[in-house]
Symmetry: D4
Subunit: 169 residues, 8 copies
């Protein structure tokens, strides 16, 4: 019986459109998910309390998404030793490169597992969380293998469709 959970924290509710695919991906693997809007800069006390009590709540992996200076995943990492995955959000003038650098360039002692900017990263954050949880939950490992097979089939199908189209001219 799975009781461990993944927490998706977004710094602003405007990040939800990017992160909903992350949530859906986790749901597709039947992972219990907690979603919260908590800002590292605007609600630091709430973030601290949430993170400090997270392990007791059964949270095993954090996924934190933020735009611009994107301190959120690092601020979470400061209060926990659980794995923290960071998703840079496209926002503002610099299109997420600021968020990417803020997340990935963490000082020694404080890792943030950073993934791609935007929706591709949101989906990969979910998969990375599943891969991590799968180490202790063999049924998730099976689900991941099925997920990979589905990707193969999906690419194969697109390959056939395109070749068919070109053959017909």
């Amino acid at each position: 019986m799975t009781v461990t959970k993944v927490a998706i924290i977004i710094g602003s509710d405007s990040d939800w459109s990017t992160m909903e695919p992350c949530y859906q991906e986790l749901k597709g693997f039947d992972i219990p998910v907690v979603v919260r809007v908590i800002s590292a800069h605007r609600t630091p006390e709430k973030l601290r309390e949430f993170v400090l009590s997270a392990q007791k709540e059964g949270i095993e992996v954090f996924i934190a998404a933020a735009g611009m200076s994107a301190a959120l995943p690092g601020a979470i990492a400061a209060y926990t030793s659980l794995p923290v995955i960071g998703v840079p959000i496209i926002s503002g003038a610099l299109q997420g490169i600021d968020s990417l650098l803020s997340m990935v360039q963490m000082p020694p002692g404080m890792p943030v597992a950073t993934v791609a900017i935007g929706v591709p990263g949101a989906k990969n954050a979910a998969l990375l969380a599943v891969q991590i949880l799968a180490l202790a939950q063999p049924e998730l490992g099976e689900a991941l293998k099925k997920f990979k097979r589905n990707m193969v089939e999906s690419v194969d199908k697109k390959d056939q469709v395109l070749q068919e189209r070109l053959r017909r001219g």
Copy 2:
């Protein structure tokens, strides 16, 4: 009893000077580590065989370091559903920004948990691996908490030393 292992794969033996701190950090947590020089581009067959048999060998987390186009962690991710951590190496004219982007900008379905460029990233890759393994190994969780306390003490000490120095003028 711990039998799971972390595999550190480097694309070139010149990456070792950056990755040795990763190895030492893992050793400090008594994690069994496999270190291999396998190139995604120069020895693709070997990489494939190694990754496909990794799970059987007890490997639970991959740490892959590479410079320049840095395809290594993605090439590993292509053959496994185990978590893959990528460390961009400073090399060539672009000082690792090329490696960072190659690693972090993975397409949906294929996450690489990317950390900082160079030695800070190498150390954080080790800690991230420990955090991941700690989910199923409570004693690692304790070790991580001790590690955090040591960091706090180390910063506190430096704080006192600097203040003392300034007081003396």
Copy 3:
């Protein structure tokens, strides 16, 4: 009689809109073209098999297009000594600069002939392939000279049209 072929490999069928001009350009030179959707990360086994058997199938040049971390041309180069041309695709937050760096910054021993990001690169990939094939097929050399003459005439015509327009005020 020409039996050699160019293979266009795209990592995702969404890359086709960028690469269709490449296909059309090759068709304009009467070059036989194989088009495939094969992903370096999602279908690595298929890629390996396709590349390892390519030479037998008469393929002489690979053109590989991919976005984001864009490992595809390098993954092809890992399995063949045939020339590999890489086309970075505009996709995701970084608009192809990530793909460009991933393709061009290959380590020593493993060249990818990289061209411009997006459609200009797609067209140039085709021409580069024709230039390469032309070394052994004199009739292609003639076709390329005619292509150059057409470009000259096209620029000349635009020059006249603009001057005419300005003269009329």
Copy 4:
């Protein structure tokens, strides 16, 4: 009578070589300065306590210096409404551009007054703090005017020296 203070917070004692000119500049204006090594990521509790009690301690302006993901000034801003000045430090592979973006790209509601990367920024952080304090301390305003006159004289002198040198050939 001046009792207000400027607090210089550095995330790591290795940042001191960059920030000592900031300290000296403030000392040159007879501003009381508190210097602390407190890390946003490694000692978050200490940072929180220090900032929350800062106003009571007479601190009026924060100067925070950090390298890489450089969350420090934003983390301070999260707990105070006092002005926070951020100095990006040159460190790691990206030479401070990561720190600059992390500091300056703060979300609405949470300003960090960011200055130049490295020593020029360290000096300017001090001057900016003096300019801010001078609004309520007229004698600092006078000192700043003298500082400006000294700059003018210093540039004039260098101008004369260079012209003299060229005249002599």
Copy 5:
């Protein structure tokens, strides 16, 4: 009784759409604001006169917004010792990164307190000005604390709304 003022200077009236939120934010704190269109490059004499007489007019803080080479805040700083806040505007091909670097990379002796590119920076410039003025105006300090509480409530509300939405599915 508050008689001090904030001056918002924009280099071009096209910058007003970005800076109006700055103006509104200051108005929300009941700060008297002077708004002027004065260009560092096109009307340098007017800028000089305005800045040299600013202190007499009761101006205590400058907020200067400009796009492209964005010399405006630095040109103001050249003529005053009052704090100057710089807001980089998104304009032209480089989307404000040129303006950001021009503003933040000021030489030693001449600070510009730089904030984020575009509207987030415009809002933060206002808040930074309020924070600076609050050092001598305790009622502004209270207003800032209320502003922070409102931000907390706003984030909390969004948190509840999103959780409610997800609960309903």
Copy 6:
């Protein structure tokens, strides 16, 4: 009997230290090589004459190396339909990223096969030229396969050496 040649053109003799490994690599494959110092900007007439007469001289592939604005490979491409390989040189303040973009971002109709910045690119330019020539010279294909096998052995050896070193502690 091989009579075809590769021409290495460098824009400045200071580029030779980067390009000598390219020359050596080609020599290792027994490819006749012509090396010339001809600048696109300083000696345009000479470049034009050399390129226009190249095909008659038996040249089949151009390798052009240049730093900064790096117009050389494009200028060659303007006068020929032979394949042109571009090697960006590290020089000046921007460390070759200027040269890389100048070379790779060629307009449609005028491909330059661009490789990595600096020495890695120099070596890969040679290999790419060999791959191109190998299409018509089967013995070069054999030599390339041997080259690949040597790379595999070299990586394997480094793998064993490192493992041995770690085993010994």
Copy 7:
């Protein structure tokens, strides 16, 4: 009597929309202008002939606009000692930063007077040409002074309009 001319050369007729404001600006100063579509890469012979005969035709200043690798102004500079002004065009994935670097990073001995990317640069290229011609044509100097006065008036007017608008609320 003015008989000297400015030549505007564009590499592609798609650059005209950016460069028409340059043409209009020159026309506003009654400068005779020659406009030509000549590509450095596609019509190198024509470019060479045009530039070599330019001085005889009375051309005194070249303005060259191009996108992507943007070799045009440098290719002109290679054949003349007349001043060459370069305008980087926004085109392709990199939005003109590639063109800017290609134009401005010319090797020693071969200057290109580079201006801003896109329309602002197009206008400034015209003004720079007028400034250059004005050295020998005093009436152009007068026209430039009038142009500056108009700019001052235009900024002043916008200043008044905005202030009026704010006064009315």
Copy 8:
């Protein structure tokens, strides 16, 4: 009889090592040169006076060099209609890319003729000034042609030396 002059203005005497080759190049053409250390930010009044009286003093072209935010050439352009050439200096963390963007991205109406970063740009600034002055001074045109011939000879000689060296093996 030549009485017109070129003014080289540097923002700091530390820029002289970069700009001395500019001075030498101008001296080689027997151009009278005025060199001044005047800072746009530190000595704005002096800059204004110098520029406003420049035309009377016979100055025809300004060359302005500066590092970091590099407002100097734009500040000169604000007060004159004479041509202003900008040389970005390598200084600080960003190695001149900040200076380049500040100089080149001037708003419409205010051109700065920007050249390459550092010494190559310093030399080219001199040549550009000579090209501009040559429009009214035919003997400078002759000198420029001789300069070009010397460049051709110098490249030819290096070409022969390298070929000779390779022939000897």
